[in-house]
Amino acid sequence: MSEHAAVAGAKPHVAHEAHHEELGFWRKYVFSVDHKVIGIQYAVTGLLFLFFGFSLMMLMRWQLAYPGAALPLVGRILGESRMPGGTMLPEFYNELGAMHGTIMVFLGVVPLAVGGFGNFVLPLQIGAPDMAFPRLNMLSYWSFFLGGVTMLASFFVPGGAAQSGWTSYTPLSVYASSGQTWWLIGMVFLITSSLLGAVNFITTTIQLRAKGLTFMRFPFFVWAQFVTAFLLLLAFPPLEAAAVLQLMDRVAGTSFFLPTGLVVSGQALTNAGGGNTLLWQHLFWFLAHPEVYVLILPAMGIVAEIVANNTRKPLWGYRSMVYSLVFLGFMSFIVWAHHMFMTGMGTAMAAFFQTTTMIISIPSVVILTALIISLWGGSIRFNTPMLFALGFLPMFGIGGLTGLPLGLNVADIPLHDTYYVIGHFHYVVAPGTIFALFAGVYFWFPKATGRRMNETLGVIHFIGSFICMNVIFMPMFFLGMAGVSRRLYDGGAAYDFAQPVLHLNVISSWGAWMLALFQLPFIFNFFWSIWKGARTEENPWQATTLEWAAPSPPPHGNFVQVPQAYRGPYEYSVPGAAKDFVPQYEA
């Protein structure tokens, strides 16, 4: 080994002569190996999928608010096979539900949070010229893209897209129409993509950080992406295994998830049997619980950057936040069965998973508390990124705290699979993570384009979204506590017990449609600012981390001169300093 090290170390990599010839359009913008272009590709694709997934939900909200009523105009466009006479078929409703979840999680939020922000910001923040494996990075994006195309195409196959929920529980999914096969193949592409991304992120963070940038000088965002990458690396493969097994069940006629004596639609199955239905749930949630942290950790990272920058103070308790993050990542692998309390697991197992679930809430609370205390005594600048970051804090707080009853076996029994769960999860991810992502878009937009987004439109976007998000999701807690199941095609209209709370469905739906209206300022602002926004210099927010040392937008290779880190990431308002911020890159 030492001999090998000698050989490898003896001859420094032959430096290619610096070539400055312009790359063609395809190599520069489409099949680019530049982490910033790939990051923007991820971000734009992710934003488009977020809007598409949201549109599916707006259709569902019509059926939930006005069950059986014909949807004007749009109902006609979608055709007789989906919405005959404008009324939604139950099968189509199920397609929308399954694909909303799948698209939002795997094609919207994760690509935007990890693929987009991770790719664009992380190498800049650690002072790297690019990712460690640029071509792998490109492959990761195109694998994601193929996965997305597969998912979209599945809407047009006979029987439509997957209908078994985003969790694809067996044995229902094994007997679903061919859209489910497309879903599984799409997932294999997406898993491959995030695997390649995760390898790249971890290697880049360890190897390419600038001189002087020790781990405890990392911006919190880098730590968040680093831990997230480990979750993606280790939690996704079991889902890949599960997807292969379900594909075998569907295509090769195996019985991995089909128990002996299963009866479907009144007919006994002829399969060999002997399988285990719960096996799917275990493999799925072994991924999907860490996946929840994949959704939330990058959001916490973004919010931490913006809070420190706009309070002009160091983050309070940076070290305890980092330790909490690492602990959170580790614990997220041993809580998955709290999604399965209703499957008849024994009390010993339930006790174990309740305990781990209660423990994992502690580091989340530590991070949230540290962020809130960071506000104390700061001279806060209320710009658009900061507004979204401030919105994140209470929204994530509500989402997190409402999760505690679900983590307890006994309290979970009445709440399981009701709208309460939907409310809880969406508070974490929609006004939680997505607000953080919006904050990140407004915050790093000047770095990506050299121009700022409009503040007035940003404030309108924030206030409208903040109100609408709560109008959508707050009623769900009441629906859920009244016992309305999350999977009902008519939103509970067929049940007597649900009658007193049915009007909440209407409120929630109008909230969703209003939310769409309030995204228009953002969409306009986004495109308008690319060409017409106010020009900025490289550090418009007077921030301290390394990405602000690069020109805006940074060229291929990022920095004009190789940056070096001389201090911690958040040296704001240092007593005796000339300015109220001392960048990491200034000696």
Binding site: V7, Q207, P237
Partner: protein, 196 residues
Amino acid sequence: MDIPYTVELRRDTGLNNGKIGIWLFLASEVMLFGALFATYILLRTGAQTWPRGDTILNVPLATFNTIVLISSSVTMVMAWASLMRGRFGTFRMYMGATVLLGGVFLVVKYFEYSHKFHDGLFPSTNNFLAIYFTLTGLHMLHVMGGMAVNAYFWGPGAKLWKTDPAWFTNRVENSGLFWHFVDLVWIFLFPTLYLL
């Protein structure tokens, strides 16, 4: 633009990028096969009856294949060691042998599979065969992947030796790590499926 530490080692980590990358990738592979082995355990412990592997599968053939794969791991190390000594000719020979041995493994596997199909034994027959075909099939895909990479380094990829021998040696080493992993998976598969 050049990425730092593609070939040379970073002083504080003592590693180059490729080495970290391949180990991380192998970690994820452990999780993939780990999930499938867990599936095997769950199915077997939950089954009323479970056949002994040797009553259905061909143990002598699999033993032969085990020897073939272990030999290919040895030739893989020899290929890398040849590069370390700067002997490109012997590298070619050993790398070629590695790819060929992978091919022998696949041919034997092909005869095993077709014999099973001929006897009417399919993945759908029972869960033992289901997990057998899934595990060995996925392993076979890994063998093919490893062979493709090794064949590339034996053929067109070897051009790198002329311009940057240290980098080429590293790449062969990383490809070797993957090949050993594929070998290791088989060493677990063989007793689990054929002998227990």
